[in-house]
Point group: C2
Chain length 133, copies 2
Amino acid sequence: MEVDSTKMLMQKRLKVTPQRSMVLNLVREGGHFTGEQIYRLMKKKMPGISLSTVYRTLETLEANELISSFEVSGMKWFESKMESHINVFCVNENKIIDIDLDTSWLLEELRKKGIKGNKVSIVVQSICDSKVK
Amino acid sequence: MEVDSTKMLMQKRLKVTPQRSMVLNLVREGGHFTGEQIYRLMKKKMPGISLSTVYRTLETLEANELISSFEVSGMKWFESKMESHINVFCVNENKIIDIDLDTSWLLEELRKKGIKGNKVSIVVQSICDSKVK
DNA sequence: TAGTAAATAGTAATAATTATTAAGTAGGAT
DNA sequence: ATCCTACTTAATAATTATTACTATTTACTA
């Protein structure tokens, strides 16, 4: 995993810093994170990390299409770049779960209507069953 | 329209105030608005209106399902309650356009998977042709 | 390994939204 | 129709997430 992230950064001609590698690794492990959450997780292994670095790094990684983001609950959420899925924001637990569902037809329909969307987010707000991962 | 909004508020057992009526009328006329935009539009006809009132009113109207909202570009956008459509955020113009597309199947699929979503938003970020309304 | 452009840590600033509170008002009871 | 009271408003303060700034440090290049 460590090697992969390094390669990914190098392929994008980005400088490989420990901060960038760690942010990318964290997000690529899976799940959904806010900037603050990433920051708290990183502090455990890299106590000197700065919150502004976390945000700037997330921005850079997204601009380089290594991760993606969407907005819900007044916050930006980051996740590993992946296709066709729906993010369900559990209002009762303040977390996101992924629902596997092919949405490529949607992009196709939009394309037919002349919308070449560069970023699509489907977010459902729902009360979730806490037994579900 | 004025009468309709009044009726709508009364049916929800909400006090009918000039501020509420005007916010509801504005949103129901169509389009997409941020809190700030509603505020600026309202000031023309009701100069004493307060920004906090606008936000609180929008919150109340949404809680009573008279309007709906979604998030993109670091802001909350409000629109009239309507079914099956996709909001396209034009990054080059900082505005939203509606794309008519039936998405009821999506809700059905989610229901099958046990997600009884109470709020769905499909947002596409795209560079828009300014000739399009 | 030395030089330099880019990245980081720390902190200040910003922007959107929410909370607070004293004063005003809508709508039911009298 | 007027009075009462709980709800609403205006004004402003506070909050929260994120971005901007700047001096220092570091990753890569030559």
